[in-house]
Amino acid sequence: MSDFEHLIELSDFYILSQKYEEALKSLKKAEKINRMEPKLYYNMGLAYEGLNDKDNARNAYRLALELDADLLSAREHLDKLIEE
């Protein structure tokens, strides 16, 4: 498993454990390795959403969708945040 994949997996674990700040630390490290992976920004969106930081969550989901317009889960989360 590459460092990038490891950091993404770690962020998955942190998000499910409600450790959103730690998730963001892993994701920011991952971002330095590869900025073209939609899942990276999707997970950032989840972490910011968990922190109720709606502005950053929306931006992250938008970035994920710019990289993969078919990422349905990012679209659903973004739509929900826009309506809130």
């Binding site: 998955d12 998000i15 499910l16 409600q18 959103y20 700040e21 989840l46 959403e49 968990g50 922190l51 109720n52 930081d53 502005d55 889960s73 989360h77």
Partner: protein, 228 residues
């Protein structure tokens, strides 16, 4: 089960009828416009095309037996006043009316409206509060002095219990609830959040990063929390 009658299915009337139906209340929707009524069929318990200023027709419909009426007539101030008067004369316990102006509101109160609302103004005030203070998600004014805010937990409160924080002693506010997004894994493997609310949290309730505290207090004291 509480029964509601919604008269006028413009933007506000339609929204309130839908929202009440979602909560499984019995809702009778009334409007003169057939298209609006057709849209509500299947959503509310009963949807009727009629002129609500016809108080005989209202009586025949059994409106007098309803608990609460919400009158939301878009343009016609006179109609909403007449309908309010009819509904109160029929004996409805609670009549809530959307008003267009201060004068309209005054007249509605005189003819017996139990509550007068200005949905756009109220929403605008709440939105202005939340835009003025990005940390505040919502604000409800209880009086000129007291309010309730929903605020993202300040950093210095994180990983502490409410007992440790001594909110009443130190800040003169009360935490009436804590809202938290809890991650869940959906059947397709993706992550979503469900909202968890702890009502009346005890002193041993711990506050974590991302929590929203719902605080009650004087507006001046709530402002101080927001500045932490």
């Amino acid at each position: 089960m509480k029964q509601f009658v919604v008269i006028g299915l413009g933007r506000f009337g339609k929204s309130i009828a839908q929202a009440l139906s979602k909560k499984n209340f019995e809702v009778l929707a009334i409007d003169e416009n057939e298209d609006r009524i057709k849209e509500m069929e299947g959503i509310v318990s009963q949807a009727v095309v009629m002129d609500a200023t016809d108080d005989k027709a209202l009586k025949e419909l059994g409106v007098a037996d309803f608990d609460t009426a919400i009158v939301s007539m878009g343009e016609t101030v006179e109609d909403s006043i007449m309908i309010t008067l009819s509904l109160k004369e029929m004996g409805l316990r609670q009549v809530i009316v959307k008003a267009k102006s201060a004068l309209h509101s005054k007249i509605l109160k005189r003819v017996g409206a139990d509550r007068v609302i200005f949905p756009e103004r109220e929403m605008a005030e709440r939105l202005a509060e939340s835009l003025a203070s990005p940390k505040i998600f919502d604000f409800i004014e209880l009086s000129e002095i007291h309010g309730i805010i929903e605020i993202v937990v300040p950093k210095k409160f994180v990983n502490k219990t409410l007992g440790d924080l001594k909110l009443r002693e130190k800040y003169r506010v009360s935490a009436i609830a804590i809202k938290r997004k809890v991650p869940i894994t959906k059947p397709d493997g993706s992550t979503d959040f469900k909202d968890e609310v702890v009502i009346g949290p005890g002193g041993d309730s711990e506050v974590i990063s991302g929590d929203i505290l719902i605080l009650l207090g004087k507006n001046t004291d709530l402002d101080k929390i927001e500045k932490l």
